[in-house]
Symmetry: C2
Subunit: 108 residues, 2 copies
DNA sequence: TTGACATATCGTGAGGTTACGATATTATTG
DNA sequence: CAATAATATCGTAACCTCACGATATGTCAA
């Protein structure tokens, strides 16, 4: 079995493992009940932080934090209009991915 | 001690938020570079713990732990043959989900 | 049986994630 | 201007995840 005794520095077997790091990062961002719910909502329209917060049952600052995380993954963009900030989907693959998730986990 | 301070209990607005908890759980299980790689491998055949461990560049016990987590989500099953244990995909939606992930995060 | 191999489990500690409260920022209204 | 509304940011503490090493379990072979 000759396990590589090289401490795990950066040295993943070059089988595209590096690519999985990005995917894992984004999946991790998606993997939260409140965030999934926000994605679901935003796939159907644009909403403000307050609207999303209320619908998800979390305080505004918590909602804001979740939205910031997802924005960093490129899922959403935001525009300010007056004192409100509207979020909307920016990642076109998000709908397809969400449908896969729903067909597996939510449809039965 | 174990003083549970009654965090915000279960009080999600009943918009199907509970369902997202399961989905988030499974997504979280998927959201790890090594585990994604294992899924990718096992979508193409059955492999032993040692084979998966070597391919992912992690020690056997670490691989075993990852596989256990995924088995708990119903992604895989395992059969022992001699001293080896073979894992294989048990969740039929996994392939579709993985294709979504790859088309978003790995194809560019 | 003893020993080796393959896998699994357990305890531990480092580091990450989360919700919360307090505070800060930005924009509107009086 | 001050006051309020909507959102964002920050520090903190509780909790969770992960990899590691040690050990345990299961299997086969001599």
């Amino acid at each position: 079995m000759t396990i590589q005794t090289e401490q795990h520095v950066e040295e993943q077997p070059q089988n595209g493992a590096a690519k999985f790091a990005d995917a894992a990062e984004c999946l991790k961002t998606l993997a939260h009940p409140v965030r999934l719910r926000m994605v679901q909502m935003l796939l159907e329209g644009r909403y403000t932080v307050g609207e999303l917060a209320q619908d998800c049952g979390v305080p505004d600052n918590v909602a804001s934090e979740h939205l910031r995380l997802m924005q960093r993954c490129g899922f959403f963009t935001s525009q300010r209009e007056g004192r409100r900030v509207y979020y909307e989907v920016a990642e076109p693959h998000l709908e397809n991915l969400m449908n896969c998730i729903k067909s597996r986990f939510l449809s039965e």
